[in-house]
Amino acid sequence: MELIKNILYNTDKVLKDFYNWSHNLWVSFNLPVILLDIIFYLLITAAVAAFLVFNALFIIYYDRKVAAKFQVRYGPNRVGYKGILQTLADTIKLVIKEDINAEKVDKIIFFLAPFLVFIPAFMVFLVIPFGKGLIPADLNIGILYVLAITGLSVLGILSAGWASNNKYSLIGGMRSAAQIVSYEIPTVLVILSILLLSGSLKMGDIVNAQSSITKWFIFMQPVGFILFLIAANAEINRAPFDLPEAESELVSGFITEYSALKFAFFFLAEYTNLFLASAIATTLFLGGWQGPFLPPFVWFIIKTYLVVTFLMWTRWTFPRIRVDQLMEFSWKYLTPIAFINLIITAIIIKFV
């Protein structure tokens, strides 16, 4: 009982003890310590990968259920209890499907693009603080790392659009790149005003700066929170900003030519990015893993899923905005508001 409580509430200490214990064991066998470190790095990576896959399986099911609720229908309800195994069945179907390569695609880049989209999403998990001390690596540049790595996925999307050799894919890829680059600016400005409050780029320090509910940055930066949610929603290409794959105009945009496992990678990346955007919003504005009674990890998941639900809510209630409105919205409204927000924050911190 004590052990379970320890594992839940002091996960980092239990893990550290486990590491020290295996370290002593390792040394007593006269094995090189570096091997043990490599094994632990691999274990952490495997744990994150497992979390990513199971989380994506659940989040897709959850999205379909939420969509069904909004559209007054049942949603998946055949496979497993209330359809909970539906995504698993779909995944198996995707894996065993034929992998179709259109004749005139650029073979190498067509093959690489799904990985270029998926790998950045996986890499961002390196700095996500899941709980007290439960962060794969608390880098000095924490949030800057997130910004840099998420920018990489644009390369994959553009490449997918270009390599497909198809005008719908190309336009989809171009729209996506323009959109991600434009909406990155308000995101960065909002994050800058958060950094003024936290005084550190480290994810751990940002969470620690919000130690009580009155110190949560959502109350100091309400405008910033809304701006961040809008911009993040646009950066992960979800409705009402899903122009890169607008069905009515572009078939499926940059994923038109993809099938089977390659398509699955794009799908996995999309839902992982949804989770990551919410996780980062939680870390920056909602106090991360902090909260009473429940274990930190549980708090983190609850808050993140609240944000996920909010993003799904906007997805299923707003119509898609027009492509000319998209750029206007970012450059003429979001960016100036973010600038004003940043200046006001700086003035208040300096003089109050």
Binding site: I34, D106, I109, L139, N140, I141, L144, Y145, L147, A148, I149, G151, L152, V154, L155, L158, S159, G161, W162, N165, L170, G173, M174, A177, A178, V181, E184, L201
Partner: protein, 167 residues
């Protein structure tokens, strides 16, 4: 030891991908190789404990410069997907220019007294230090560079709108 191995991996990656940037027949491939070059440079920055520079390197050079390059390639119908020859008859002037550059860099590396310039960056909060350098100690060069960028920005917009009026 480990960092030495990684340094060699990144060094080899930089050289190989830089060569492929130049010799690829397909300009889109060149752009992707360029992304790999810049990414490996970020890796070297990390080995030097310059995490902030590494982050900025990826954010600006790959997230903005390479993406814009690819964007332009996609917009340019003439060269899209075509196999372009990347060299012309200016081989000798190009060779001279790059040799001069290489000699200058090698001379600079050899003539510098490195031992007096090694700073223990881990002792500082690197990001804060960099911010102080840019906005306090070197604020005038920094602002001059920003004004230069602003001029370039306004200039390109002016040129584009001139073109429109002529039509």
């Amino acid at each position: 030891m480990i960092s030495l191995i990684f340094f060699y991996i990144f060094a080899v990656l930089i050289v190989i991908s830089a060569i492929f940037v130049v010799i690829s027949k397909n300009i889109y491939y060149s752009a992707l190789w360029l992304a790999l070059t810049l990414f490996s440079v970020a890796g070297v920055f990390i080995l030097l404990n310059a995490y902030f520079l590494a982050g900025i390197q990826v954010l600006i050079y790959i997230g903005a410069v390479v993406v814009l390059t690819i964007f332009v390639i996609n917009l340019t119908k003439e060269i899209e997907g075509k196999k372009e020859k990347q060299h012309n008859k200016q081989v000798i002037p190009a060779l001279l220019a790059s040799l001069t550059g290489a000699v200058l860099i090698i001379l600079a590396v050899l003539k510098t007294d490195w031992s007096s310039r090694i700073i223990n960056w881990t002792a500082y909060d690197e990001t804060a230090k960099l911010g102080n350098f840019l906005l306090a100690d070197f604020v005038i060069p920094f602002e001059a560079a920003s004004v230069l960028l602003l001029i370039a920005l306004i200039g390109s917009i002016a040129i584009v709108s001139l073109d429109k009026e002529n039509k």
